[in-house]
């Protein structure tokens, strides 16, 4: 359907100013990574030499990269946690109540603080005599203070907690928007039929939220796979905390000619992200588990 009086090339004029930086700084990196991952790059000489699949072989044989892969997969634990907490918060702040706006704002504040600034705050919260240890001691969960960042085995989980705290407000808002779309008439009908709060939530609210759950799961999964800045600003970056992208960053900018190797990791993360997006669309999409009804 042609629009009256619109030239055939007008559209290109409108998108061209955006398309140029987009092509150079968003699209090109994805293609260039694929090319670079098959080369050795020599920084000072600015030359790249084809090396077949040597970078991928190096990854497979590396002692440290499997740990990075494991840590990144472990980080996926935040995905269900964020969904539950964010949806819980959204239900909590959904209905109007005196001061509810203030609570919504408080839950959102961590989202608007720079990750580096928040990271410095939480380094101190996680000290062995810091706030987090104090809270758990007060609740009789642990007997004495723990250095959450310093203890190698715990610091990845500390980073996950930090990541959850930092991001949950964002997903709360998405769920809040989703809750507005739940048909009130259906909830009322279910209540008349004697459905309790849980049944109404399980059989009315949750199916209606399906598109939002899909969106949020997708976004948090990508967020978890790219976990990196959390590690960079919070932990000591040891074998047990370094994630894939953190590893990539270290080989690229930590000295040595690691750009080709870094590109190989980037390609791996990219493929992983596309694969997960595809799987989640199938599982959660209209033909997925909730679409058919129970």
């Amino acid at each position: 359907m042609a629009k009256p009086g619109v030239g055939r090339h007008t559209g290109y004029l409108f998108i061209a100013p955006f398309l140029i930086p987009f092509a150079v700084f968003s699209l090109w990196p994805l293609l260039y990574n694929m090319w670079l991952s098959l080369h050795d790059y020599f920084v000072t000489e600015h030359v790249a030499v084809w090396n077949g699949f040597a970078n991928y072989v190096t990854l497979a044989e590396s002692d440290s990269f499997p740990y990075a892969l494991r840590n990144s997969l472990l980080f996926l634990l935040v995905v269900p946690v964020i969904q539950v907490v964010a949806l819980g918060l959204a239900l909590l702040v959904q209905r109007p109540l005196v001061g509810i706006g203030l609570f919504r704002a408080i839950y959102y504040v961590p989202v608007v603080i720079a990750i580096s600034v928040a990271g410095v705050v939480w380094r101190h919260v996680f000290e062995y005599d810091g706030m987090f240890s104090w809270l758990l001691i007060t609740l009789h969960i642990i007997p004495e203070g723990v250095d959450w960042i310093g203890l190698d085995k715990l610091s990845l989980y500390a980073a996950m907690l930090f990541s959850t705290w930092k991001n949950v407000g964002y997903y709360m808002v998405l769920y809040l928007a989703g809750l507005q779309t739940v048909p009130k008439a259906l909830l009322d009908a279910a209540e008349l039929d004697g459905a309790g709060a849980w049944m109404r939530f399980r059989h009315v609210t949750l199916p209606a939220l399906q598109p939002i759950v899909l969106l949020c799961t997708l976004l948090t999964t990508i967020g978890a796979l790219k976990a990196f800045q959390e590690i960079l600003v919070l932990t000591h970056r040891t074998q047990n905390t370094v994630t894939m992208l953190m590893w990539m960053y270290s080989v690229a900018f930590g000295g040595g000619n690691g750009f080709g190797l870094a590109a190989a990791v980037a390609v791996l993360v990219m493929v992983l992200c596309f694969a997960i997006a595809a799987v989640q669309f199938r599982v959660f999409g209209a033909r997925g588990i909730w679409g058919k009804g129970t």
Partner: protein, 296 residues
């Protein structure tokens, strides 16, 4: 008024009884909700309370003694003065303002026409191009830091504001947001203007943008916060200390030369957080309404 019959009084009484039970139930439910709200608010907000209390305490001896440490000891602005004395905080602030200002201006100029074209204009390859945009949104931008670093090196943009800003304005997010919005514009209005001889550019300026100011505001504020908080890319591309934004400069200083004084760190964190909080307080409705709903 006629007098109530006996039957009506009985019915009313039963209703009143049910009513009072309902009130008790509802008060209990509201109390439970407030309890939940307050517990979560404490969990989310207490790190900041502590940071503020420590930054304001001249005497640092009690800062690790909880719960006493949540209130300032001997309150003063001593540590804030120290921070400004030893750290080029206002230079960082100026750099943050400059970099995020440029990012916002450029994003608006690029994303609005592009979003309009994807929503309202016909051209060969439109769907295909938009699919490409969406595909880049699926991949974390961190994946691009090595190629973008090399691109900036080739273009001579390392350690420049342009190098720090360009990759941020290339994000497809803004185009996606504006396209979603421009699609909802009533096509009768646009087509009527077209029949009257208005060009697409005039259409965008005089009809589409004025009808979409809330969406433009949402894009502005989200871009501003993202740019202001961007840490990784400026840390990679900039290396002159006095060119750094707050997110990088303050982090580098607090984890480097000043790492030993907790009071100094906390005062600096307060200074870094306050501008963001002021801006957030003024614009929070845009965030809390969510990206998905930019209509109202």
């Amino acid at each position: 008024m006629r007098r109530a019959t006996v039957q009506e009084i009985i019915v009313d009484g039963a209703a009143a009884k049910g009513f009072s039970i309902n009130i008790v139930k509802r008060i209990a439910a509201i109390g439970a909700r407030y309890a939940g709200l307050i517990v979560f608010a404490a969990l989310m907000g207490f790190p900041f309370v502590w940071v503020l209390a420590v930054g304001m305490s001249k005497d640092p001896s009690g800062i690790w003694v909880f719960p006493r440490a949540f209130l300032p000891h001997d309150p003063s602005v001593y540590w804030f003065k120290r921070v400004i004395g030893v750290m080029p905080f206002f230079t960082y602030l100026r750099n943050s303002v400059a970099m995020s200002g440029m990012t916002v201006a450029a994003t608006l100029m690029l994303a609005i026409p592009a979003g309009f074209a994807f929503a309202q204009l016909e051209f060969v390859g439109r769907k295909w191009l938009f699919g490409l945009l969406i595909a880049t949104l699926m991949v974390p931008s961190e994946v691009g830091i090595v190629p973008n670093f090399l691109t900036c090196a080739h273009l001579g943009l390392l350690d420049t504001y342009a190098g720090a800003v360009l990759p941020n304005i290339a994000s497809a997010f803004g185009v996606f947001l504006m396209k979603q919005h421009f699609e909802q514009l009533p096509s009768e209005v646009l087509d009527a203007a077209r029949v009257d001889g208005a060009g697409e550019w005039r259409l965008l300026w005089h009809i589409a943008i004025p009808m979409s100011l809330p969406a433009v505001a949402t894009l502005t504020i989200f871009t501003l916060v993202t740019a202001w908080n961007d840490y990784l890319w400026p840390a990679v591309v900039m290396n002159t200390r006095l060119k750094l934004p707050i997110s990088v400069g303050v982090f580098n200083d607090l984890t480097g030369p000043f790492a030993t004084s907790t009071s100094l760190i906390m005062a600096a964190l307060v200074l870094a957080i306050v501008p963001v909080m002021v801006c957030f307080a003024a614009t929070q409705r845009f965030f809390l309404r969510g990206v998905a709903d930019s209509r109202a």
